[in-house]
Symmetry: C2
Subunit: 355 residues, 2 copies
């Protein structure tokens, strides 16, 4: 049995971007306060949080002060430096736990973990040099994609390889970082599953969403996704499998390729996920509240979808479409409060209720 | 034509309770920052706002500092002292405007205003003494209800009169304050309309909700309300009538009695209203965002209801029901972050999606 964190407890969030912002609002809805640890000033999460500790992840004193002011620590991004976690974990519980971070911080470790669970992943090979890359491409075959093992997001740290001629440029693009070559998967479409596991070990899974990417950045998520009943069942089971294997507490995002031979896991993210934003308009308990419920020891929400939704990201100049979007029916607008519009920058999203 | 306030502008909110809290979250969702003016520390709105200026309404320097730090001023309660408004209005626009406050701050002025628009209200008489009360009761007849003209809320400042014997006690309960005697209305049920008017003078009205009160405090609001199509039309038209007469900008709540002879206006509130909380789960644009849209010069949201909802307040010890509520399907929980549970205190609400 777990008593939930009492009302007024403080949830510490590492990272002050839009995910931290929406987590803060959800925490407030459940009666909690929030403290944000974020090096940047005027960050999106700070606008809706009780406290913002502006300091770098190498600032040990700040990390200690932060931990001492909160009751539980969570994060909005998986690349939290290990040295910071080493300090924080001695002071307060970190949820989801470090094993999830260790695995998701490195693409090869992650793929080994997923394969070890018996889940299908794209063919992959570790690459530490141009020679490695050549050998890996021989084994996997073109086309393939080279990715840095760590710190990649929104298509960054990636290079496509369509023939051996691309090898030198692709390897150069990695800047010498440990990388992984992944074979292309012939998939019809991509879906993701947003799943949660509570302190009581119960699991709740949101309806899978169908994702469209453009330039490596998520463009839209549509629920319901095009999936057979069997595929839907597989998606739920594999997500639960991952959560249990990690003894996970919180929300996890799992990206899946849909192929004629079944679902293939693309990657996992140990946090709330852009492809789960539709839950804000589609469910009584959205992914942000579900995460807060999990890490605060509440019972999980059931996650049932009561509406069809299309989530669309507002990226860079999409902000110019706001006046039109504001006029549309059944469109919920969510802006992130970022000061500057930049190309490729996620400025907000809209959830369109379609049924 | 009105250009909306640019992203990153600061919305100043007078009052730091739960309405200010939910307005802050809505403002953030539209890319704005918020500043709260509230004498109390650790107030619900401050948990999700950028700034909290903790000062009293008699602190002129604080009021000036507040106004200079914001782009537009709104409020979450109608009893903002006139002296404070006199200072603030010289510095920044106050929306809704002062006329709405002047009228809603005094029950007699409000009833005169509504009657002047040709709207039906309960019979009423001004009462300034026990003799006045006796004469008023003679004219209106028992049962009736005596209310202070100003500063009443949640059933406070009210006394029921069922016979002339009740007169001394009822008058004593007013503590000498200017009061109004209202005749009882034989109504079948009570509904309220949450309506909005934009800077462009457009009007949008949410579907009326049906209210149940207990001990003078709102217990629940159900949408759709039991209303004929004609009553529904009347409700929308009279709300628009009030908004236009006040040249209003923002969200207004109108409480109505449903009777066999038509709708009778109980009272109006120049702000977001407890009976509009259902819109958080029932509409793509809820009453809080609608208010922010209006005062920030956005186009209004259409307010269409996409779900049936029952809103139930969590009052005092209702908080003990949280573990059960958290387990229910299709129930969205909204807590206000108040430190202490007190009898009669609104601690939160739940929105139950019923269809």
């Amino acid at each position: 049995m777990h008593e939930p964190l009492p009302p007024g407890s403080v949830i510490g969030i590492l990272g002050g971007g839009q995910l931290g912002r929406m987590l803060s609002v959800a925490a407030a809805r459940l009666g909690y306060k929030t403290a944000i640890f974020e090096p940047g000033g005027d960050c999106p999460a700070s606008h809706v949080a009780n406290f913002h500790l502006q300091a770098g992840y190498e600032d040990e004193a700040a990390l200690r002060r932060f931990a001492q002011g909160v009751d539980v620590i969570t994060y909005e991004f998986e690349n939290v430096p290990t040295s910071a976690l080493d300090i924080l974990e001695t002071l307060r519980p970190i949820r989801p736990g470090r094993e999830a971070l260790r695995i998701s911080q490195d693409r090869i470790v992650e793929k080994d973990f997923l394969s070890g669970l018996g889940l299908a992943v794209a063919p992959y090979r570790a690459v530490a040099s141009e020679d490695d890359l050549r050998a890996a491409l021989d084994g996997i075959g073109a086309p393939a994609i080279l990715k840095t093992c760590r710190f990649g997001y929104d298509g960054k740290g990636q290079a496509r390889i369509t023939s051996p001629d691309d090898i030198p440029a692709a390897w150069a693009a990695m800047n010498g970082a440990a990388s992984v070559l992944e074979g292309f998967v012939a998939f019809s479409h991509e879906v993701s599953v947003i799943a949660a596991r509570g302190l009581d070990r119960s699991v709740a899974v949101f309806d899978p969403g169908e994702n469209v990417h453009e330039g490596g950045i998520l463009r839209s998520t549509t629920v319901p996704a095009r999936l057979t009943a069997a595929q839907r069942g597989d998606a739920v089971l594999l997500a639960a499998n991952i959560l249990n294997a990690l003894d996970y507490v919180g929300v996890l995002g799992v990206e899946l390729f849909v192929t004629s031979r079944g679902l293939i896991v693309n990657e996992i993210a140990p946090r709330v996920h852009n492809s789960g934003h539709w839950t804000q308009q589609g469910c009584a308990v959205d992914q942000f509240e579900q995460h807060v419920r999990a890490i605060a020891g509440w019972v999980l929400g059931d996650g049932r979808r009561h509406a069809d939704v299309v989530m669309e990201n507002l990226i860079g100049d999409d902000m110019a479409r706001l006046p039109d979007l504001a006029r549309e029916r059944d469109v919920a607008i969510h802006l992130y409060g970022k000061a500057d519009v930049k190309p490729g920058r996620k400025m907000g999203h809209v959830n369109r209720i379609t049924g």
